[in-house]
């Protein structure tokens, strides 16, 4: 039932080779071409083969190359790793994140980062990773990483049998802070707008957020932060350190300048961002590219 498909990618010299070597063992269901095939793997994890040496295509790529690759692959949703690479290039602090496609890779990447680590499902088809049992945090050693790797792949494939799974992302545990969401969307009349608010899994329930029209000035960023109902959480609620608001303002201003300069990007979620007294770090991120018009999609993508 499970289709093993040699995956192809047109990239930089040398890239293709690495990609195929590390990707060819990954099972996935081709949801595009077999949309009505109810194929479902019995269990995901044992199908993930151990590849050796560990994957190394985590090397950062420039924005235009990441975009070009996504265009070639006909997708508008960038992975967490791609999204963070792009944001990091915009000067926004993100937890370093690498993709593992095997259990062993996950362990070796974890060891390189140093424990504890976080493992997350990496799939463009799964938006709410934690709903799918797709996030395991505070993993303290190789055994925990292996168990988490198996657990995540298994439950993701059970809950989302048609999801295309790129692998498992590994990142060091970020130092905890207040969970913030920052994001961008484009409005028909106003152009790019930024969002700031309390983040985490309840963001759509609470909707404690404020918007700002790009380009932002520093006072706009400060007012956005000041507008949320839960702003007391930022000021050291119950003995917690208060959050450095100027760092959050900086992050909003960088985001404002970045989206203003990059019309290819349609939407951004940075959720959560851990905000602390000494800074703020993007722990998860998702970037959506704008849909191409028919005329644009007909044209071959230039790399």
């Amino acid at each position: 039932m499970v289709e093993f498909r040699p995956t192809e990618i047109h990239g930089l010299p040398g890239f293709r080779r690495r990609f195929i070597r590390t990707f060819s063992g990954i099972p996935y269901i081709d949801v595009l071409s077999h949309a009505d095939n109810p194929a479902m793997p019995d269990s995901g994890s044992e199908n993930f083969k151990i590849a050796d040496p560990p994957c190394i295509e985590n090397e950062p790529m420039p924005l235009n190359e990441i975009v070009a690759r996504a265009r070639r692959e006909n997708r508008t949703v960038l992975t967490e790793i791609e999204s963070k690479q792009i944001l990091a290039q915009a000067g926004i602090d993100c937890t370093e994140t690498r993709l593992a496609r095997t259990r062993a890779e996950a362990v070796s990447v974890s060891a390189a980062f140093g424990y504890p680590v976080v493992l997350k499902i990496s799939s463009k088809d799964i938006t709410h990773k934690s709903d799918a049992g797709g996030v395991k945090v505070n993993l303290k050693d190789a055994a925990e990483v292996e168990a988490a790797y198996d657990g995540i792949t298994q439950s993701a494939l059970q809950r989302f049998p048609r999801a295309q799974i790129e692998g498992i992302s590994v990142q060091p545990m970020a130092r905890p802070g207040i969970e913030i969401i920052m994001g961008m969307t484009r409005d028909r009349n106003f152009g790019p707008v930024l969002m700031f608010g309390l983040g985490g899994v309840l963001v759509e329930v609470l909707q404690d957020v404020a918007f700002g029209i790009v380009p932002l000035e520093r006072s706009d960023a400060a007012e956005m932060i000041d507008e949320i109902r839960g702003k007391k959480l930022l000021d050291g609620y119950r003995g917690q350190d208060s959050v450095d608001r100027s760092r959050l303002e900086n992050m909003l201003l960088k985001l404002s300048a970045f989206v203003d300069a990059n019309p290819e990007i349609a939407e951004i979620d940075m959720n959560p961002v851990f905000a602390r007294s000494d800074g703020a770090t993007v722990v998860d991120a998702r970037i959506i590219l704008r849909e191409l018009s028919e005329a644009e999609s007909a044209r071959p993508v230039q790399s």
Partner: protein, 461 residues
């Protein structure tokens, strides 16, 4: 360029009519009834004259230059009229006809052709589907109007209600000191940004109030409004807030970002003042155009009923206003008005003073001292529609004290005989903002204070 719309030297009306029931007649009559003293050229191939003005068969037959053309003929004839305007070298056109984008695809096609002619010939077009301008200098609306004041409030709207109904209400009832009302309809060319920029730089304009169902170029709106609001208040009523966003979002951000939330962000970011209905648009404009800007949010409340004082206090707290304690000097000045068992406080309970001194003297004593208190930035005065109030209304006591103190004062009138309450609304309402509910008064005052504090903070007063 916009000057041609508001201060033309000559105006032609294409579709002018001899029939007093027709829009093309009323428009010419409104222009005659305004202070416009330039040439008026009715254009109608079937008439020799309209309202005593020589009529022309076409624009080409008019001997002199034409600064402004008003068009009121069926939509499908408007393309030809626009071509005539281009040939004549006209640079400003108001199209009041209906039957364009607002009616569907066929109408949109006509509007697109008009836009193309206009942009090629460098013509600025207001409308279509609008009523143009109401002002003392010129009135182009097809709703009969005259004696428009030379005031300081500009209203801009995509609304017939605003341009016709509200305009008459405001002008005939003298409820707002209007300077200009612009109805921009489908805004195929001239939009809120053009007018915001124009009136932002216009010295006669003190307050700009807008009703918009869409913001044509939001990015530009933010840039322009940011420049205008530090100079003068811009009040915005935004219709169509409940419409869902057009985009199918793939992010949390996109799914939460509704049209209303984004417009609210723009309002906050530009320092505009948001109104929630047409009455508020008018109320806020009234407060801003008649009252000085306060530099704080301290409010003194003067009322003859304790319960009203309690509810006003609650409403003030909810809308960011404070009722400060009076200073020693104020307490001393008020002492004589109160019985021994009731020390003076804020809200000021006026009842004992009214019984002792009558309304006029009670107000003189009980409003002046609190308004002069440095902790007080504004006052709310409650007046009931009963005989004992009317002397003070006739003698304009509140107006006098407010002027002496140089601080904003608003009136609320909740109870009384209708005929007397109406007199309060009408007579006091010419000089001061009068509200028939506490919440509307408190909300309007809170907007004034909020704006005043912001202006004060930026030191650009």
């Amino acid at each position: 360029m916009m000057e041609l719309f508001f201060k033309p030297k000559s105006v032609a009306v294409i579709g002018a009519s001899k029939n007093p029931k027709k829009d093309g007649n009323i428009i010419v009559n409104n222009i005659i009834n305004s202070d416009f003293r330039g040439e008026i050229y009715p254009v109608n191939p079937a008439a020799d004259e309209v309202l005593g003005k020589k009529a022309y068969a076409s624009l080409d037959d008019i001997p002199g230059e034409v600064d402004l053309v008003v068009i009121i003929i069926p939509a499908q004839m408007c393309v030809q009229a626009m071509e005539d305007c281009a040939r004549k070298g006209v640079k400003a056109v108001i199209i009041e006809s209906m039957g364009f984008t607002e009616t569907g695809a066929a109408g949109k096609k006509i509007q697109d052709r008009i836009e193309a002619i206009a942009s090629k010939a460098g013509i600025r077009v207001m409308g279509p589907n609008c009523t143009g301008i109401v002002s003392r200098d010129i009135a182009t609306t097809f709703f009969p109007i005259k004696d428009v004041p030379r005031g300081n409030v500009v209203m801009i709207g995509q609304s017939g209600l605003l341009a016709a109904g509200m305009a008459s209400d405001i002008v005939v009832n003298q409820s707002l000191d209007i300077h200009k009302i612009c109805s921009i309809g489908n805004k195929c060319d001239v939009n809120e940004n053009d007018l915001l920029e124009y009136f932002g730089n216009d010295e006669q304009t003190k307050v700009i109030a807008m009703y918009l169902e869409s913001i044509a170029d939001g990015g530009n709106f933010v840039k322009i409004a940011r420049k205008v609001t530090p100079k003068k208040p811009v009040i915005l009523l935004n219709g169509g807030r409940s419409e869902a966003g057009a985009m199918a979002a793939m992010s949390h951000t996109g799914s939460i970002a509704s049209n209303a939330r984004i417009v609210d962000a723009a309002i906050r970011q530009t320092g505009c003042i948001r109104a929630d209905d047409f009455t508020e648009l008018k109320d806020f404009a009234k407060v801003f155009s008649t009252q000085p800007l306060p530099s704080g949010n301290g409010v003194a409340v003067v009322t003859a009923a304790g319960s009203v004082g309690v509810v006003v206090s609650d409403l003030c707290a909810e809308h960011g206003l404070a009722l400060p304690r009076f200073g020693a000097q104020t307490i001393d000045a008020l002492k004589g008005l109160f019985p021994d068992f009731m020390p003076p406080s804020n809200p000021v309970d006026l009842w004992f003073a009214i019984e002792k001194l009558g309304m006029t003297r009670a107000l003189e004593a009980a409003l002046g001292a609190p308004l002069r208190d440095p902790a007080v930035d504004a006052a709310i005065v409650l007046l009931a529609g009963f005989e004992y109030t009317m002397n003070a209304v006739e003698e304009k006591v509140v107006q006098r004290i407010a002027k002496e103190c140089g601080k904003p004062v608003i009136i609320c009138t909740l109870v009384g005989y209708n005929r007397l309450r109406n007199r309060i609304v009408e007579e006091l309402g010419r000089d001061l903002p009068v509200f028939t509910s506490l919440i509307s008064g408190v909300k309007a005052l809170s907007k004034l204070c909020e704006y005043g504090i912001r202006r004060h903070r930026f030191g650009d007063r």
